[in-house]
Structure formats: C-alpha cells, structure tokens
Symmetry: C2
C-alpha cells in the first residue's frame, strides 16, 4: 500500500495532509542528544526512524514471481512483491501480505534470504525465500502485470531497484541449499546504489 505524503495528498478533510504543516523545525528536545523535527504550531516532536521493507523471492518450481510496477517510482519496471512492514505485523506476515496484495498469490516462507541495508534512505529490507502455493497469480492495484520468470529469462534491464537485483542473485546463489547464512548487501552495493540515486526514494 502506498501512503499519501504530508503536503502531497489531496484530501477532503480540511487541514489533513496539507503543505507547510506538522513537524518542520529542527530542535534538540530536552534529554535527547540529536536534533529532531518539531512542529512550531503544536510542539509535537517527530521521531523519524528507519523503515522496514519486507518482501519475498517466491518461486513456482523453477520460476520466480515478479511484478511490473503500476506506480511511481520506476513504473513499468519489474520488482519483487515487497512493501513497508505495518504496525503489529511480523516480517513474515508482512511479506505474505505484500505478495497477496501485489500478485494475488499465497506463499510458503522457507528462510530469511537476505537483510539489506540502504542507509541513504534509512531502509532495512528483510527478504524471504518462499514457494508459491500455486501458479495462480494476478496483478493487484500496484502492479501492471505479474509473471513467473525462469532464471534465463529474467528481464535484467527492466528491474526496478538495485536491491531487487541483489535478492534475485542471492536467491540463485543459495538455490538448493537448505541451510545458508542470510545474505547481505553485495560488496559493490555502494557503487550500485550511487549509480541510481533516486530509485529507492519511495521504497520498493
């Protein structure tokens, strides 16, 4: 689910989500040691924290589920089912929910494939290895299309984000391994990341 942003969404409820509102002034609250965003109108302190993205590399037999994005950023490019973890949700439940929402598919999670750090945008990604319970898939609201790709057919040139590349390659690297060390950013992650500075700004 994409979330409307403060100051960007249009709303019927006056005052909600309008520009120039809410925490927008930097100050160090008493007892803290870092500047935080505070609202000069009401005094609310906003603690910005890293966000958790959860997702899955889900396969039916040898083919991997990909979703073509119907939304910005990287509309029209292929990604894994993934999105922001919600409150009171486990990471595995979140990965299952995102796969259901974006690809109409049910998965069985097998292992934690990878934990990726994208500190530039304060994101931690938890990506699971999973099996599709059936080959029945259907695009959800945020997908233009969904498809099962075998390894040789993956549309590498049209992959939405560097971390989708990483997850696909990590999935392949541990294919057939029942026990493996959860993967992390590849050694060249910084290079990859800096080549595509704006692709991660809105999550997967």
């Amino acid at each position: 689910m994409e979330k409307p942003e403060n100051g960007k969404s249009k709303t019927g409820q006056p005052g909600i989500g309008q520009p120039g509102i809410g925490p927008r002034m930097r100050a160090i609250p008493d007892g803290d040691n870092r500047a935080r965003l505070v609202c000069p109108d009401c005094g609310f302190i906003k603690y910005d924290n890293p966000l958790v993205v959860v997702g899955a590399v889900a396969a039916w037999e040898d083919r991997i589920l990909l979703c073509r994005r119907a939304i910005a950023p990287r509309r029209g490019y292929w990604t894994l089912p993934a999105g922001y973890l919600e409150l009171h949700e486990t990471a595995a439940d979140g990965a299952r929910r995102e796969t259901r929402e974006e690809a109409g598919a049910e998965i069985e999670i097998d292992a934690l494939l990878a934990v990726y750090n994208i500190p530039r945008i304060s994101q931690i990604q938890l990506i699971y290895r999973a099996r599709l319970r059936s080959p029945d898939i259907a695009p959800g609201e945020e997908s233009e299309a969904v498809a099962l790709y075998d390894w040789a057919s993956i549309p590498w040139a049209d992959i939405a984000f560097p971390s989708v590349h990483w997850a696909l390659k990590d999935f392949q690297a541990v294919r057939g391994q029942r026990i493996f060390a959860t993967r992390g950013n590849p050694p060249d992650a910084q290079a990859l990341d800096s080549q595509t500075p704006d692709t991660h700004t809105d999550g997967l």
Copy 2:
C-alpha cells in the same frame, strides 16, 4: 539513547513535548486504506511504523558481554548492548554504536545471529554475533555495570527481556558454527512474551 516522549518530557522550549499536542485523532487519509493518527490542530499525518532494534552478543574468548540497565524499564537487570537504529545508519553500525555507548567496547561483527519479531510492540530486532576487540569494557550512561559472563555464570534470573534469553541461547546453539541459518523467535516465544507483558514496552 533513550528518547524523551511527547507529552512526557519536561522541556525549556515552550510547546515542545507537552501533553495533548500533536497527532492524536484517528482518520483515514485520502488514498490510504488504514486509519492514521492526525493532528487536529495542524493536520499533520503521523505514520507510525515498526521500529528496528539492533544489538550484539559480543564475546571475549568464551565470555559474553552483558550490561546491567541503569534505566527503566527493567532497571538493575542484565541485557545485551542494543538500542534503536538511527536514521542513515546500517544495522551493523548501529550495533557497534550501541555497544560503544552502553559498554565502552569495540566489537568486530561476525554474522547476523538472529532476527526477532515482537509484533505486540511493533519491533524488529537484528542481533549480531560479535567478538570484542579487547576485554576493556566500561559502563556507559545507560548501564550501571558491565561484565563478561561465561555460559555457566549467566544470571538467568536477572535477565531483562525475553529476547535477551533468546539471543543468548541462539548464540550458544550456533557456537563454533561458521555458517548457520539466522535464528528467529523460538517456538514458545508467544508464551514467554505473554508471561512478561510489560518488559518490552520501551525497547531493550
């Protein structure tokens, strides 16, 4: 670092951190599908998200570093060096920072030991396995004491949180294993968690 809470901290800056301010009304913003907290004064939408806790089971030879909490909750009980991941920080950097802040110690991270889910309080914990670079440790502001415990001496009755139990046991379970599957909540996690309903409310 403990963060002052809105409505709980005393501050010299008028209006900042006072009770009854900021997002406190539930409404579903346009384009969203969940109720979010909004501020009836200024209209700001607050997206509450799960928080990431990072920490380490760090050993010097066979002994494990523990910290006795100088702060609520569970003051006087033993915990691992751990705390909230900050913006623009990798999880490993966060674990190293917390160990430095709480135990005055430098660590070398070896592997991602465990990922724990505590959905009741919307927390994801990333706990690393690490080696201390030296046995020189010293309590930071949030610790009353720090100590190195061998396995037989761990003060099980005085451990602060269930997830500290889990991490210590997971550390022991994979001791000597170079490659292992990152651990998760134990099967009896729910039972443990419900026995101690309030211990996790403020993080590790």
